[in-house]
């Protein structure tokens, strides 16, 4: 009969093997692939889904790992100016990128435009209509038009700019409802509180209870650009530049397109 201690010994050996194999694999993996330090990318919250997919593709190609930090562009800009450890900044508008540039926090020559967006007019799904042009907004049946607050929200700034350019601002301004964010403008339509809203095409796509009445054509609407740049204080300039190249590349463009960007 096996003495009890030998059973214990065997199980101890098992334990050792169980520990040793993953440990050996881990050491081998650690030596075989130099695990690159992740870069921190601060990006506009509207890019959350698209950029997460882009960063995953980047990782799958073995180019490096990315830590994504999402927020309102103005908050992200202030974080960088205050010295937050960020390597790459992707803003929803040029104005916030300018704030970081003015503080001397951008690496020279790295600022690029990565994606474009368009304005779209949405209406509640239960009262669908199709616009033939922006002037359909003057239709008296549309009593309230929600846009982002033109004093602060980039989407609202773009919407006002566009209405002014088309000479419609004075005609509709009494019916404009300024909202705290572009999502709030969309929600106003989805809840039926507003009869129409001017939002980004990318927001309109994912809305559940609002449908697109009209998309402002690229050549007529304001130039809506998401700029990106490497932060001057980065400890990983090569990795940051590599990621920015990837974000501008063809593979990333296909992903952005899938999420409604162009």
């Amino acid at each position: 009969m096996e003495p009890a201690w030998s059973v214990a010994l065997i199980s101890l050996r098992h334990v050792r093997t169980l520990v040793a194999i993953p440990l050996a694999l881990w050491i081998a993996a650690a030596q075989g692939l130099p695990a690159p330090k992740p870069i921190t990318v601060s990006a506009a919250v509207s890019l959350t889904d698209a950029l997460t997919a882009v960063a995953e593709a980047y990782g799958r190609e073995g180019l490096g790992s990315v830590r994504l930090n999402f927020g309102a562009s103005n908050v992200l800009a202030r974080q960088i100016v205050a010295g937050a450890p960020v390597d790459v900044f992707i803003s929803a508008d040029e104005a916030q990128m300018d704030v970081v540039a003015a503080a001397g926090m951008l690496k020279e020559g790295t600022r690029v435009a990565i994606v474009h967006n368009q304005l779209a007019i949405v209406v509640p799904t239960d009262r669908p209509r199709t616009f033939r042009g922006i002037s359909d907004l003057t239709n008296p049946a549309i009593k309230r038009i929600a846009i982002g607050d033109p004093a602060a929200v980039p989407a609202g700034v773009y919407a006002k700019q566009y209405l002014e350019k088309e000479g419609l601002w004075d005609a509709v301004s009494a019916r404009i409802v300024p909202a705290g964010s572009v999502r709030a403008a969309l929600t106003a339509v989805e809840s039926g509180a507003a009869d129409a809203a001017i939002v980004y095409r990318t927001d309109a796509r994912i809305a559940l209870r609002a449908t697109v009445a009209w998309v402002v054509p690229f050549d007529r609407g304001p130039r809506i650009v998401y700029p990106a740049a490497v932060v001057r204080t980065t400890a990983l300039p090569t990795e940051s530049a590599r990621f920015l190249d990837f974000v501008r590349g063809a593979a990333a463009a296909r992903i952005f397109e899938r999420f409604g960007f162009r």
């Binding site: 921190t40 601060s42 919250v45 205050a82 999502r183 969309l186």
Partner: protein, 219 residues
């Protein structure tokens, strides 16, 4: 599931923040209730500041102090400690935002303790520390506990300071409140709703159990 991981992370951070802030808050509350010292009003005001200031401003101040170029961050970096954009920043933001709630509630508790008990103990030769631990603290305990629960609940809902100093990094610094914001901004309303229900359930459980704990003690 992602929602449960976010919830667990938030509860851990809020618990850590409450435990960190509890000892100093109780001492400050006791000093404010029992001692007159120069600058007392200043201390009381400074402690209440996080309650008054916009949370984003509190977060920005923390960020400037703790960033690699900041006065505290520079020292910490020498020891290889990174705070900004990590869970440590989440805990710190929650602790700071909970501090005034805990101090003010505990202060009210200490003020209700009859000074005569403490004086009698002192005439019988008890040291100030012993008086504090055996008389003042046990008698003020329900208030201290209520303050701790308030601080914990404040931590659960903390958003403004957290998103500035800790960011919204999925899998690293995303708390319930920050994730709810992220989900609503990207049109994932049903995901946001799930997190919201979880937050409500946790807050309810915390407040209810604190209520039970206080009730069980004889008045």
């Amino acid at each position: 599931m992602d929602a449960w991981r976010i919830a667990w992370f938030t509860v851990l951070c809020a618990t850590g923040a409450t435990l960190i802030v509890l000892p100093p808050a109780v001492v400050i509350a006791w000093l404010l209730a029992r001692r007159t010292f120069p600058g007392r009003a200043v201390v009381e005001t400074i402690v209440s500041l996080p309650l008054v200031m916009p949370p984003v401003a509190t977060g920005l101040i923390l960020l400037m102090l703790l960033s690699r170029r900041g006065p505290i961050g520079r020292v910490l970096e020498r020891f290889g400690i990174d705070v900004v954009f990590t869970w440590k920043a989440v805990v710190l933001a929650m602790a700071l935002m909970g501090l005034p709630l805990l101090v003010r509630t505990a202060l009210a508790g200490f003020e209700q303790v009859n000074v005569r008990y403490e004086r009698v103990a002192a005439t019988l030769g008890a040291s100030p520390a012993r008086i504090f631990l055996t008389i003042s603290l046990p008698l003020a305990w329900p208030s201290v506990l209520a303050g701790a629960v308030l601080a914990f609940a404040r931590g659960l809902g903390e958003f403004g300071a957290t998103i500035v100093v800790a960011g919204s990094i999925p899998g690293a610094t995303r708390t319930l409140a920050v994730a709810i914001y992220g989900y609503t901004e990207t049109g994932r309303d049903s995901d946001a709703l799930v997190l919201l229900l979880i937050s409500v359930a946790i807050a309810f459980a915390a407040l209810w159990s604190a209520h039970r704990l206080v009730e069980r003690r004889p008045a």
